[in-house]
Point group: D2
Chain length 147, copies 4
Amino acid sequence: MTRFEPKNPDYRAIATDTFDRQRAMQTLGISIARLEPGEVDLAMPYSADFTQQNGFVHAGVITAGLDNACGIAAFTLMPAGSDILTVEFKTNLLAPAKGERFVFRAVVVKPGRTLTVCEGRAYAVQDGVETLVATMTGTLMALPRRE
Amino acid sequence: MTRFEPKNPDYRAIATDTFDRQRAMQTLGISIARLEPGEVDLAMPYSADFTQQNGFVHAGVITAGLDNACGIAAFTLMPAGSDILTVEFKTNLLAPAKGERFVFRAVVVKPGRTLTVCEGRAYAVQDGVETLVATMTGTLMALPRRE
Amino acid sequence: MTRFEPKNPDYRAIATDTFDRQRAMQTLGISIARLEPGEVDLAMPYSADFTQQNGFVHAGVITAGLDNACGIAAFTLMPAGSDILTVEFKTNLLAPAKGERFVFRAVVVKPGRTLTVCEGRAYAVQDGVETLVATMTGTLMALPRRE
Amino acid sequence: MTRFEPKNPDYRAIATDTFDRQRAMQTLGISIARLEPGEVDLAMPYSADFTQQNGFVHAGVITAGLDNACGIAAFTLMPAGSDILTVEFKTNLLAPAKGERFVFRAVVVKPGRTLTVCEGRAYAVQDGVETLVATMTGTLMALPRRE
């Protein structure tokens, strides 16, 4: 049950390829867990390398996951030949990012020719229980891809 | 010439210690370049490990630097015995994060007993020229430190 | 089916009274359409008095409705003797605010002792059809009521 | 001393005309106090008609002033034949909006062909003393004007 119709039939390959070319995602250990038109889940294991002073995952790292989930969700709906950039985002931190692993879920709220607005939610998973730790609203922009 | 009067005479040692206990900052290569009451500059060299698909530094990493600059700036004005957490932040990405190194500058706009609002600016530095690449407005909260 | 348990059994009377003491809401013609613990709908008729240059309702007026919906939704979950203030909010404008009337729906995402985070959505209604025109994420703060 | 070079030599007449066609600004009593390329000050007298439950000016009304200041500031730098819309904004409320009158100051942080980012500050003025009551960061979009 998909709410959005992708303009690019190769959206899955293109979105996955764009994700894979992001060295930051590999360094942070973030991978695509689910990819549908306008909807993306990313997953990240806990790593002590990315913690703040109390041992929780740093808000910037949570934001990197949310931003990327929003970006890939928006990108699935953009036409062939597009590049994407983040215009802005807003993150609310709701609970300590404390867990064995983390899930970043994003959905497109409003697709557009130039601008697309997405919402993301970050969950910490501990012993199979998910806790909402952060929300994001982000604006993404489609650009013609530079060759 | 300092605009703010710190409540904690040990603000410098405490803020530096809190920064140093953040593993994420070490992993990202971020260090304190300047620290005054209510004002902080952080520095980060370029690393290909933290790039997005076009080779620029990932927006989440820029946000991690800005968030930490805002947090430390706010923390310098909090009373002894405080811990700090980020409530929320908003980032606008203004230009590609392309440079040899990056500077994150934050200032307190409004200190408060519970909530402190900061503004941060991220600059890319290339051949000695600084380019503004992102802005942040963030809200930080003082909490009694857990022993 | 209510997701939240109000701490104040008089939440409905108190929230309604707080709303009614806001002259701005009367001037803008905004009223409470639905009130549940942690959930509020407000309604506003179109008025040419509050339009921008193209005859659509001004983004600031849409924001006033969203902010109030978020505030009242948060307020229903606060303990007796609380006053409430808005810490910050973020609004994305998704479509022209063009309609006969407008609905502002807010839900609490995370209630807290001090801070509560809400999400709101503004809809324009024309010929019985609702169009999403704006979203808000907002942070509200509980304060002891001043006598 | 102007930081920005307007693309449209008639920027002053066009920006003023766009402002004047906003009925909401007249209803709220907001007027242009200063207009330079990329910089605008708006002024608003206190009115009990736009207050919240404690008699302070409603956050939505403060936001309307800030949004308009940002919009007009951005608009002064757009080419002839442009219309403007607000993409999103973020407001932090720093102090009660309590004063005889209010000033909304906006400056362009980053002008762009499509998107322009502005920062605004709202001040309450009482007995000649200005108090910062709110900040805004906003993204504005240039569109070809519809005839």
